[in-house]
Symmetry: C2
Subunit: 661 residues, 2 copies
Amino acid sequence: MNPDIVKERQNATFDVEKLTNILDGGPQKTKRRREIESLVLSDQEFQEEDPNFLSRSERYDQAVRKSAHMILKLREYGIADPEEIYCYKNCVHPNRPEPLDLHLGMFLPTLLNQATPEQMDRFFMPAWNLEIIGTYAQTEMGHGTHLRGLETTATYDPATQEFVLNSPTVSSIKWWPGGLGKTSNHAIVLAQLYTQGNFHGLHAFIVPIRDTNTHIPLPGIVVGDIGPKFGFNEVDNGFLKLDNVRIPRENMLMKYAKVEPDGTYVKPPSSKLTYGTMVFIRSMIVGVSAQTLAKSCTIAIRYSAVRRQSEIRPGEPEPQILDYQTQQYKLFPLLAMAYAFQFVGQYISETYHRISEDINHGDFNELPELHALSAGLKAFTTWAVNGGIEVCRMSCGGHGYSRSSALPDLYVEFTPTCTYEGENTVMMLQTARYLVKSYRQAREGQRLSGIVSYLNEGDHRRVQPQPVAARPTVVDINDLASLVDVYKLRAAILVELAAKSIQQELQRRKSQEDAWNNSAIDLVRASDAHCHYVVVKLFTDKLGEIGDTAVHSVLSTLALLYALHGITENSGDFLQAGLLTVPQVLQISVRIKELLSQLRPNAVPLVDAFDFHDKKLNSVLGRYDGNVYENMFEWARRSPLNATEVHESFHKYLKPLRSKL
Amino acid sequence: MNPDIVKERQNATFDVEKLTNILDGGPQKTKRRREIESLVLSDQEFQEEDPNFLSRSERYDQAVRKSAHMILKLREYGIADPEEIYCYKNCVHPNRPEPLDLHLGMFLPTLLNQATPEQMDRFFMPAWNLEIIGTYAQTEMGHGTHLRGLETTATYDPATQEFVLNSPTVSSIKWWPGGLGKTSNHAIVLAQLYTQGNFHGLHAFIVPIRDTNTHIPLPGIVVGDIGPKFGFNEVDNGFLKLDNVRIPRENMLMKYAKVEPDGTYVKPPSSKLTYGTMVFIRSMIVGVSAQTLAKSCTIAIRYSAVRRQSEIRPGEPEPQILDYQTQQYKLFPLLAMAYAFQFVGQYISETYHRISEDINHGDFNELPELHALSAGLKAFTTWAVNGGIEVCRMSCGGHGYSRSSALPDLYVEFTPTCTYEGENTVMMLQTARYLVKSYRQAREGQRLSGIVSYLNEGDHRRVQPQPVAARPTVVDINDLASLVDVYKLRAAILVELAAKSIQQELQRRKSQEDAWNNSAIDLVRASDAHCHYVVVKLFTDKLGEIGDTAVHSVLSTLALLYALHGITENSGDFLQAGLLTVPQVLQISVRIKELLSQLRPNAVPLVDAFDFHDKKLNSVLGRYDGNVYENMFEWARRSPLNATEVHESFHKYLKPLRSKL
């Protein structure tokens, strides 16, 4: 054990295990998580070569091998709870998606939600037993966000009672679905339905794409891998071109909408039925964001404790880089953010579970708010973490660029969350739409409830962008409740600003749509402020649940740092709105420095509390024992370029060159 | 040609070729650049497989092959001017470093600068003819920024007149030098010199590491590749462990410092002699930043012109995504930044060349300012571009994640500039040191000249953080000169704030060093503001040189956007200092929206003016003809995973699994 990191742990002012329990949701959950993790970590079949040493094809091969074994073991252990499956999978494929993700996470659940009993009989058990391996093919090469723009067609032919599926253009080729390229033999294809000469919009169809026995693509099918990406090397994201592919009528998922044998179309009872899944996945992503930032902080902070560099005082030994104020200023606000997002993730997942019963019974009352919240928070957290991982990586100096640090992989596997399951800017605008609608309702005299109730007519309406001097300031920068209020007022003002921008555009005779587009910058800004308020609020609320004094104290410091750092990063907003005075902003800068010093002794214990097993973290820099350099050397020596002492290119190119010069 | 992109070009309000000439530094330079590029592009020997389809070893092999051919052709064409060599190389290895970079860019130049005539005779021609392939081995596993911390030792043995080189610890292993792992047979090793029992600090030694004939590592040498990284796949960054390696006394580079045969140490005449190279390389990086951002903008803006998605007005065709205000707000400020940094790069390179004559004659008068400026601007531009590339990538939706977009590669090859040749935070603090020193000199009554003259006692000294209402505002937000002034005042105030923070710490009886460390956040902020001011100023100055009215007009719009966008991003600073009023900040937001609309018709022509050949850009999304989708499909089909219809993993793992479930 590196002596520096031992000393760090001795300095903890709180019980690390207690904090771990809070993060897990209770001691029982910590225990069960560790049990599941040890099932994986003790299983020799999951041993792997570092993927960074393998070719793309070898990486895919290794991932398929592990996923196959995973399926087997999950059955054997009887692990069936989705959270536990997720935990197991995350340990089998640490930090990485895998080829069966869409089979397990989209194909099977979509069958469960949208298949008729007859379809369940035909498809579910074969899919459960991996005779059918499926994916979910929605996005096309030229179409992502805008579902109505999808071009794939499914035309019903009553003569044979079949649907005929087609990719009419290059841009209509299905593109990106995970597992589509090489793994799946079936796909749930989203296509525009035509029957009896009428157009009925997007519906889902089960399309066999490869022979279940030989795995060779079926006639009319052109399928393959879309090529190397930024990350996702284990996944065969694929393309699918359909040329007059015929499937039986019964392969349209018909639990809700139907096409009768004669081609008569029957509408679904509600359009909100598939809405819940989307909300669920976005909520999950908030949790993933928190976990990823927690991993990045663990690596950067542990390494900063063992890394000694330069000098603060001449003649003294090189200090730990964690003692540099600039290093603390990079990492501690991110550490605070990781905690904040963990608690937001807990909240949103609990909320989803609380109201999902209602949703299942057709009560969609609370769904719009959760939908708006999950969209905005998905964007807010993924953007913040996306940047945060890179700050962590760059805080590790040169070694952050080495794949052995795990930070490059954390980044490339995470960054797609900014785009998939709802492109972030689009997500922010969805939340903004809800905020502006709520704002207008409040203006029309409706009483808002829930998280947007701050938009009700009230005190804040008197707050306007104005010189600071004009209004008295009552904010206490050391009081979290007071800071929550300030964030709330900022959000209220920015929502109002965006709403007014739309109003002004309309007064200039712009159409509703152009007015919206011409206010989009303001709308995104309003959403961002709303989400920021929610995060500060939820972190503060969480403190109320913490009984242990020592843990409460350190989490309060983190919450305060999160709130104050957010203010300095956006001080223009707060000054502009007259919510804070110039002396207060200066005071906040000073206070932040104090909080950095205050957190310094607890920095390593705070990342220890995330409790990532070394094998799950998979980072030479982030090792629990701090023995970085010897392990980095050992890792490097295993690199494939070192398999031979002399690379063949010397004999092929360099040596022959001499005689030519 | 995609009709959308044709139309974009018809809308240009200026002559693209004229702007290209300005960027190149004149029509003659444009002509010569294109000549050199066509030498490469027409050369069949430079044909390559997309590196993204290759293994690491194959990538390295291909790069060595191309570099060897490049050396041959440069000799054949007699291309010897460093700028022209750089241009040729950039076209041979577009967006990518290569294995001989350090041989050409560090080993040969270091010989030229630091070798004695006798050493030149012994080493230069063999190195020129690639019998000797060299690298420059400075950083160690545990030591980067802090040169005094390097552990490698060179101990003089007068008995044999040899130096004995050693890596005494794991952390002392040389780590990271490009070309060290597999390519080089010699290294210039930086080591701590001991002779006659005395320590004399860091010196450079030429160490043979591999047999020049067999390429096998020599006795006492452990050398290899440090393993896969984030990017730099073509380069064999290496490690080197020295175990009692003996080299002749004459292998120490002795143009300046010397060790006599008896072991007597002779000091170098000046410590500033190696200073110039560092400044030169950092200046170059500013230019690289500009080029990389220009490439990223070219890809994102061209793709945004051909990509149609969603709807602004119901019933109308899907709009080009470049028509969304949020897309413009992401990309146009970056486009403006790319132009700004191009002109900063020109300025700093011209300044370097202007004063390098003085430096060669031992006149170091202007060097400290250039040193401070190049350090800060290196950090300022690389950080901004690092984030900017990712904004460009994410503005391309899903396809930005495909390696075919080139954006992932642009990012991973660029991001190390934030760390190498001076870690960015350290760079910012170096600039801050100069600023604080200048500030103190001014306070002591000295008259400053040059770019820091704004720190002279003068009007700004009356400007203090204070309520806006307290001072009259004279800023014209449409006048660049006025905005330059505002940036200047912001910098002056933040330098003063940092200096005062140090003062306050000292008054609290902190040591000079602790006071510095406890003010580091403020110091970085001051440097950042200083650099920002310099960039706005240089962009504005450049406009004065532009004769063509149409080009002047569009560049003025870009400069205004750059300046105003920078203000909104840092509005807290400007409000806090009372430099702008709240209504002005609101006005600036409105003005930015107008500028986005104004730039919209010229967006594609403005990236065309960067004049990147398609083969140099190497991006399916950024193609000049806009034919994105058909080419993306073609690219994907060539992906190695598509070499077979059925991947072997199906037969190995997935099919056998069925019988077990």
